[in-house]
């Protein structure tokens, strides 16, 4: 029988962005309520696919990231008792997620200015989650039945890129590559996210910009429900154009032309992984010509 799969979902829960998303001036307004109900159906579908499938949900709130649900955690006591009309696991998942989100929103209070969403924090937490990082610790992971193959992370993003988080995102991508984790990204609202595009591309996942926002569930099911092994049969759309721009290290601006230190570049270029990435991984990128960077000097 085929193995079970693990899915970690990262929800971008920025109140401002969701408020904007629900505005009726959008072509397809999508409120957080309808978003959550469609998402829960998707999560249920993932659990339904296989008894052993595991799930973890992380929320990226302004300035804070929280684990909302994990199937490995013991069930909380206050979950309403099972009834005869629904599968009990679904009830636990749905109830726990909705309650945690509500609690977090209540705890936010009235902020004058919303700090940026802690997407990187959530991503890092997802990578540290046991089902995913177990791959790294046991060398013969294939034989160990406790380790699930093909773990993946799905990011549902609504906030625009935060250029200050460029370096941590890149670092997360590289650890994801090392852990053989696929990162899928669904851009639910807002402009294209450059860094998340790169994340999906580099880990073999797909980045999808939601055009028909009223059909969120269909997008989610068709593109993100299938585990990577199945995507060899039923294709999942990938981007043909990826924005590879990096952010400069001095002012955190996204730059079209980057400048690198001549010393680091010359010493490191053999180790580079992807040509377009070496700027960002091995070298410090500047927005103006610098003869020798501070480290090398």
């Amino acid at each position: 029988m085929e193995k079970a799969s693990h899915l970690s979902v990262i929800l971008d829960l920025s109140p401002t962005q969701w408020h904007l998303s629900a505005q009726s001036s959008n072509q397809y307004p999508l409120s957080i309520h309808s978003f959550l109900s469609q998402l829960l159906a998707f999560l249920n579908a993932h659990i339904a696919s296989k008894h052993e499938n595991t799930l973890a949900v992380f929320g990226a709130f302004p300035g804070k990231s929280v684990m909302l649900y994990s199937s490995t955690d013991p069930v909380a006591d206050d979950v309403p008792p099972a009834d005869a009309n629904s599968y009990s696991s679904f009830k636990v998942v749905d109830f726990t997620i909705v309650r945690s989100i509500m609690n977090e929103f209540d705890a936010l209070g009235n902020l004058d200015e919303e700090p940026p969403c802690a997407l990187v924090g959530a991503l890092t937490k997802a990578l540290c989650c046991k089902s995913i990082s177990a791959h790294f610790h046991s060398p013969n992971a294939v034989e160990d039945p406790a380790v699930l193959p093909d773990p993946r992370i799905l990011i549902l993003s609504v906030s625009p890129d935060l250029s200050t988080s460029y370096i941590p995102i890149m670092n997360s991508i590289f650890s994801a590559q090392k852990l053989k984790v696929t990162i899928d990204v669904c851009k639910v609202y807002g402009p294209d996210a450059v860094f998340l595009q790169q994340a999906a591309h580099l880990t073999g996942g797909s980045y999808i910009f939601l055009e028909r926002r009223d059909a969120l569930l269909q997008y989610l099911t068709m593109s993100f429900l299938s585990p990577p092994a199945l995507r060899q049969v039923l294709a999942v759309p990938k981007q043909d154009k990826i924005d590879f721009r990096a952010a400069c290290f001095c002012h955190k601006n996204i730059v079209d032309v980057g400048f690198v230190c001549s010393v680091c570049l010359s010493s490191n270029h053999i180790l580079f992984y992807v040509v377009k990435l070496w700027f960002t991984y091995m070298c410090t990128v500047f927005c103006q010509p610098v003869p020798v960077c501070s480290t090398c000097r």
Binding site: M1, A48, V233, L234
Partner: protein, 469 residues
């Protein structure tokens, strides 16, 4: 990103469908549609299908209208076309996705019920009515349920394995005995005690999950003969498979057929009831793992329990077997194909010998089954080896099997005493044209023809002798 090789690895074993699917496919559309009215049945059947089928169902589940076939097949990668077509055929046979050349749409009954299963709600009560909390008695813990299921299941297996050896273990109930006999796993010779058959020996080497479904499938066939409503039987099994381990459910809302089933399933260890008239029951792990690949008896194979300590057999290149087990059942099963040397409280040492393996082979167990049993129950220490079992031992077991097949018998007729060499040649040529010659010897003017060619050859010879006269 997984390469193409991993794809073939992960997708080929899945092409073996679940044992229940062929049975479901043989049912009439009417039966299946009635079955699909219950969300829990849709849910369980969905889990039994392969991953590709599941994805296709999911893709179509939330669509209100049918979509053109071309749209859907645009998603299929060319190398996967075959798998995709096979998946569509499976779904069509299950009447989940009616075959059509233009548009794809799920069976409306299935779609409605499965949507309800995913989103919850409705009032179908198909996931089992939880019993009210009983303050007088404490509910069973998972451990007691596991112990109960294990005891019941091992009683059955132990009875089977020891029937060939003359010892008398505890007998399972009459219903179980009848089922074992009915399924051909055991036979009764002239009023003597039940004897295990070669199918029964093979059955013992299967994984518990397969054994369980084998028996349940027989139960379903039997239910058909007993005029039980198959839809009720199936939907009850599916309902059990969606229940929570360690929770009590109420028998209210169950039909008469299903209440009768409770009694049978109690004998197999699938459900637990305080007493036969009790108004509540708890499913055991055997029942709740019906649609998953979790081991249905987690404590049965390892000494400490848990899925990781499953294996207990160490096989060395010198044909020695060390089995770390204290279970009489496992020892008995091993005894089918090894010669026991020593027995300790938690360790059995034995040898794979020519005699022991030949004994197993003559019981109808195949070499492949022995090898796969050793593979699935290999000790974690063995898992470090690649290949898992020593190649020499594997080859030798196969060679011993081939030894048995050195002689091939076929029925037929020997044609001899031909009057002249010309006659002989003439008939032989005719027989060769029919492709029925198994052996020939020109110097002794005789040949051996198979059974089905005899009438033709005989007629040919008769025509010729008559013509010559």
């Amino acid at each position: 990103m997984p390469s193409l090789t991993t794809q073939s690895e992960t997708l080929t074993p899945e092409s073996i469908p679940h044992t229940l699917l062929p049975f479901l496919q043989s049912q009439s559309q009417n039966t299946l549609t009635r079955l699909y009215q219950r969300p829990s049945s849709c849910f369980s059947i969905f889990r039994l299908t392969g991953p590709l089928e599941r994805q296709i169902i999911m893709n179509l589940l939330w669509l209100e209208s049918a979509i053109p076939i071309a749209t859907m097949s645009a998603w299929v990668i060319r190398e996967g076309k075959k798998l995709y077509d096979a998946a569509l055929t499976t779904l069509a046979n299950l009447h989940i996705l009616p075959q059509s050349n233009v548009k794809l749409a799920l069976n409306p009954t299935f779609k409605a019920s499965f949507r309800q299963a995913i989103t919850g709600g409705g009032n179908s009560s198909s996931f089992g009515v939880p019993a009210e909390k009983d303050d007088k008695r404490s509910t069973n813990t998972v451990e007691t349920l596991d112990a109960y299921a294990l005891e019941r299941w091992e009683t059955i297996l132990h009875y089977m394995v020891s029937s060939g050896q003359g010892s008398l273990p505890t007998k399972p109930s009459q219903g179980v005995l009848y089922l074992l006999q009915r399924s051909g796993l055991m036979t009764q010779n002239h009023g003597s005690a039940l004897q295990i058959t070669s199918a029964g020996f093979q059955f013992l080497l299967h994984t518990p999950h397969d054994q369980l479904w084998d028996l349940l499938l027989q139960y379903l066939h039997m239910a058909e003969e007993r005029q039980m409503d198959l839809v009720e039987v199936l939907s009850f099994l599916f309902m059990l498979s969606t229940m929570d381990l360690g929770r009590e459910y109420s028998t209210e809302g169950l039909s008469e057929t299903q209440k009768a089933m409770l009694e049978d399933l109690r004998d197999y260890g699938l459900v637990w009831q305080r007493k036969a008239t009790s108004k509540r029951f708890s499913p055991t792990r055997l029942a709740t793992t019906l649609t998953s690949s979790c081991p249905p008896l987690p404590t049965s194979t390892g000494t400490s329990g848990g899925p990781q300590s499953q294996g207990f057999i160490v096989l060395e290149t010198n044909y020695r077997i060390y089995a770390y087990t204290d279970k009489p059942l496992q020892t008995a099963v091993l005894n089918l194909f090894i010669t026991m040397k020593y027995r300790f409280p938690n360790l059995v040492v034995g040898m794979l010998t020519r005699e022991s393996v030949k004994k197993a082979l003559s019981n109808g167990i195949s070499a492949e089954q022995i090898i796969s049993y050793l593979t699935t129950h290999a000790h974690p220490q063995m898992r470090k080896n690649n290949p898992l079992l020593p190649v020499t031992v594997q080859d030798q077991i196969r060679l011993w099997e081939l030894e048995r097949n050195r002689l091939k018998s076929e029925e037929g007729y020997l044609y001899k005493d031909f009057g002249s060499h010309a006659d002989y040649e003439y008939v032989l040529n005719y027989a060769k044209q029919l492709d029925v010659v198994l052996w020939e010897n020109t110097s002794r003017r005789c040949f051996f023809g198979s059974l089905d060619g005899h009438t033709n050859i005989r007629g040919f010879i008769e025509r010729r002798t008559n013509g010559a006269v």
